[in-house]
Symmetry: D2
Subunit: 311 residues, 4 copies
Amino acid sequence: MAITGVMRSGLAQIRVLDMEESVKFYTEIVGLNEVCRTDDGRVCLKTYDEFDHHCLTLRQAESAGLDFFGFKVDCDCLLDKIAEDAKAFGQECEFIDANSDQPGFGRRLAVKIPNGHRIDLYADVEISEPHPMLKNPHIWSSRPRGVGARFFDHGLLAGPNSAETVRFFIEVMGLSKVEVVRMPDGNGDIATWLSCNTRLHDVAVLEFPDPGKLHHVAFSLRDWDEIGRAADFMAVNGVVIDAGPTRHAVTRGQTIYFFDPSGNRIETYAADFAYFPDMPVREWDFSELTWGINYYDHDNKIKPSFLGVVT
Amino acid sequence: MAITGVMRSGLAQIRVLDMEESVKFYTEIVGLNEVCRTDDGRVCLKTYDEFDHHCLTLRQAESAGLDFFGFKVDCDCLLDKIAEDAKAFGQECEFIDANSDQPGFGRRLAVKIPNGHRIDLYADVEISEPHPMLKNPHIWSSRPRGVGARFFDHGLLAGPNSAETVRFFIEVMGLSKVEVVRMPDGNGDIATWLSCNTRLHDVAVLEFPDPGKLHHVAFSLRDWDEIGRAADFMAVNGVVIDAGPTRHAVTRGQTIYFFDPSGNRIETYAADFAYFPDMPVREWDFSELTWGINYYDHDNKIKPSFLGVVT
Amino acid sequence: MAITGVMRSGLAQIRVLDMEESVKFYTEIVGLNEVCRTDDGRVCLKTYDEFDHHCLTLRQAESAGLDFFGFKVDCDCLLDKIAEDAKAFGQECEFIDANSDQPGFGRRLAVKIPNGHRIDLYADVEISEPHPMLKNPHIWSSRPRGVGARFFDHGLLAGPNSAETVRFFIEVMGLSKVEVVRMPDGNGDIATWLSCNTRLHDVAVLEFPDPGKLHHVAFSLRDWDEIGRAADFMAVNGVVIDAGPTRHAVTRGQTIYFFDPSGNRIETYAADFAYFPDMPVREWDFSELTWGINYYDHDNKIKPSFLGVVT
Amino acid sequence: MAITGVMRSGLAQIRVLDMEESVKFYTEIVGLNEVCRTDDGRVCLKTYDEFDHHCLTLRQAESAGLDFFGFKVDCDCLLDKIAEDAKAFGQECEFIDANSDQPGFGRRLAVKIPNGHRIDLYADVEISEPHPMLKNPHIWSSRPRGVGARFFDHGLLAGPNSAETVRFFIEVMGLSKVEVVRMPDGNGDIATWLSCNTRLHDVAVLEFPDPGKLHHVAFSLRDWDEIGRAADFMAVNGVVIDAGPTRHAVTRGQTIYFFDPSGNRIETYAADFAYFPDMPVREWDFSELTWGINYYDHDNKIKPSFLGVVT
């Protein structure tokens, strides 16, 4: 396989304030499918076009936010190697038993990374229904619901120590730096987009004072038409849209940001091109970030909520 | 890098009957940019959104067809390893000096594969203009011309010994089998799609009596709207469309096939999803191939020209 | 009102062979809504975005085809004037009582026109559910089903005496000639597109040996993206597509032709521009009709079934 | 003709501060074609898809704004009738000689309407190049430039005495009321959309303290995809976007508002459906206007500039 090692981001566990309201939101609006519920009441969901057992786990809690963000690797044996490297990098690691808290998943390696987030890595995942057809396949076996999210796409993790965090993703996990926004003073980067495949990002890292904060988790849509239809569907259904539909100049993707009922920011994102790791890094001056975020920006200032609100 | 080894197909040298007519076609219709001409009169072209020096070389000749089909690997050192493995597999190999016949390219390994095609592998490629912007990048530095081909995408190579050819791509080059069409009698595959990244195919292999035949080379477009606009642009300009705009059920891509002035079949292709090598292989019965090729097929038979005409 | 007199085509009664199968097709595939059933077992349907009581009536019969094709006029008083003019033109007329056979419709004037078709004209129509919202309106009150047909759009009526038929539509009903295809010998027109508003056609007339034959009835979709999604939906559901998705060069519309379970040809049509009656007539030579019908035509011949099969 | 009387809005004369900069903007960005220049230095422009001589006249002046807004009627004889009715309504009228100040136009009737705007009516207009092909027509004779504006679409006229102005458009000019926004106190309308064909509006009227103010003039685009491409083109070229790309819930259109170099607000607008005058009026409460204007609104407040800035 030419996609080796860490293959893609593919799992997030998110805290929600009201489980049934949240399940309704993620199934009816985002279009995910409920796969199963755990004994402790968590709910596992997936898109209609994925094979892996689930990509999103909801956990009811007192406050919204992200429990962990996960990556699939191509071989279970790699988990030991990454654990070793992560420890050498100075990070705490822990193995979690297969099927212990994420049904359908083999053992996972949980690593605390420098920005306060927990990253889970895993190799063995069962296939669950629904998944794409395999024999004389139609484009779907059942018409997508809601906005029809296609695939778990990426997360934007806010927290301190961005530089160390980025270094961890590159040196320990083998990701590539795709795009960066320079700090106002030009020293270092305020935000970095990182990929382990042809996505424009599997994960992005935002410098932020508080550790372990979630800016957003994103699901892919196909193109501008799907983005427009998703915005219509959200509008009809009273979803609170935070930004978009618009295009980021950073990563060139087309996007809508919106909030789940607990205030977690979710994105639907349509990539414009395929990244390869031999492409040069694209760089942004902080002063150009306004149109970097909203390419059609007209006020020349970012809404304070967009950068300030995290969970 | 998580995309390692053989990273992508990225270069083809095609024979054309009339150079100036062909250059006009590839620049004004397909939207490629002329990068340079060689001393022996070949012309090197690239899309507006690629970094590599060029992706298509045109060579004037008595008959149309494909001279070789190329893949980029992540490290020059890998070429020696592949040469060794290819020889062990029983294939002839030859190294071609840097900059000898493809300006901007480092040394290449040319391998004769079992279906009579020549595959070139290379690691070092200079960046040429135009390429995507790198500093506070806009979506393009100059508006795309013609149908606005975005990226070299894949080729479909026709010839005998498909099974051996597929085995070569998998065992020696590390590609993954994405999708197959079974032979009418169910023994073996008449066609196989293979990927080394998240494309639905970097190369596809079609069983065909004559060796070294080109079915088509494809350039990517973004989505159904670009496919429709491309079809309009071709129609206005009198391009001979062979099939489409339509969707393949096989690979789920949206497509137009058309002919260059020499009769080489070219495709513009919009992928519908991103492949990963942990996805199961998708299988087609030969009897379903009609709608596998044209999802909106209404006659329930494939145009004989579509499978029969190669160069 | 600046749209006066005959305002639009808006009603067709079609014969089907099996009522329940047909209702299922028109509601689940085309996306119409069942409004009511008549005592004699006919079923009345409408799109989600229309106000008029219904636009399609299905009648079970031994053979498929069209009972009548209807136009809405701006005032009931106009019916008497048209009856008079139609008689003076030499056509038989008959008034049909309000609510007698089309629930929700006022009295209708039925005119036998020279190509053997029956045209019904009516002014008073009740509003039925569902219809577009009127107070702080969302884009729909309930998500469209199937391919989401938006509006009754036009019909193509085949039969003899085209020239007289066209003259009737223009002189008696006030339609405008939008586009014509000349006969092979250049004498007269083999097909004519006629409009009474800004549609590219409310009705088209095709010279054909047998009287009263239906080539197709069309429902509007919005754009190429909806055409593509409709084609996908039809393909997944095994609908027999006759042609498309493609663009007509004649009228410039984007289209899919498909068959209902009884063999009536139905079209989903996306107009590309708005016609006005001060635009000059557009003319086609018969020899160019191939790409006039299928702008992306590659065989340079029309499928015999497309022009030959009517109901 | 079933579109009779006042057929459509089709001409505006706009004041600009710098003629060459403005011509460059309207030709290279909006995609209009320069048709001719007048002796007094005004420049006449048209889209690629119109027949009428021109739809926009630029006049260099000290301040931006609108000189007059014009409608085409179906017969020169109607001008006398409208002059009479306008005088009876209490409005000043004046005839302007053919070809005196608008090349290619027959005599015009200029009427001062209650909101301080001048409306010009005309019937006879020469056809100018470029215009749509008439014989075996391709979709365009020359590829559209810039954002590819397709047709003059509508204007939004701000000023006092809205109620009287609306009454004038309906009673004297025969337009229909399509949609209204109620005043905060529910007494009367703050804005009204009016049509004389199937457009969602040929003209809209906004209550505003100062007479004769232009909110915007709009050109049509086809669909959401064209809106997105237009936004990209504007962004690359540094055009100041005021709002969008988004959807209005009012009229359901998809839109971008932007400023010409003189500060005149211009819109590119894609209609979502065809209006007919037998449709009921759609009504908005003032309190819902935020999402009426921006369907994807997230701040729940309208940008002050959007309603406050006029020329």
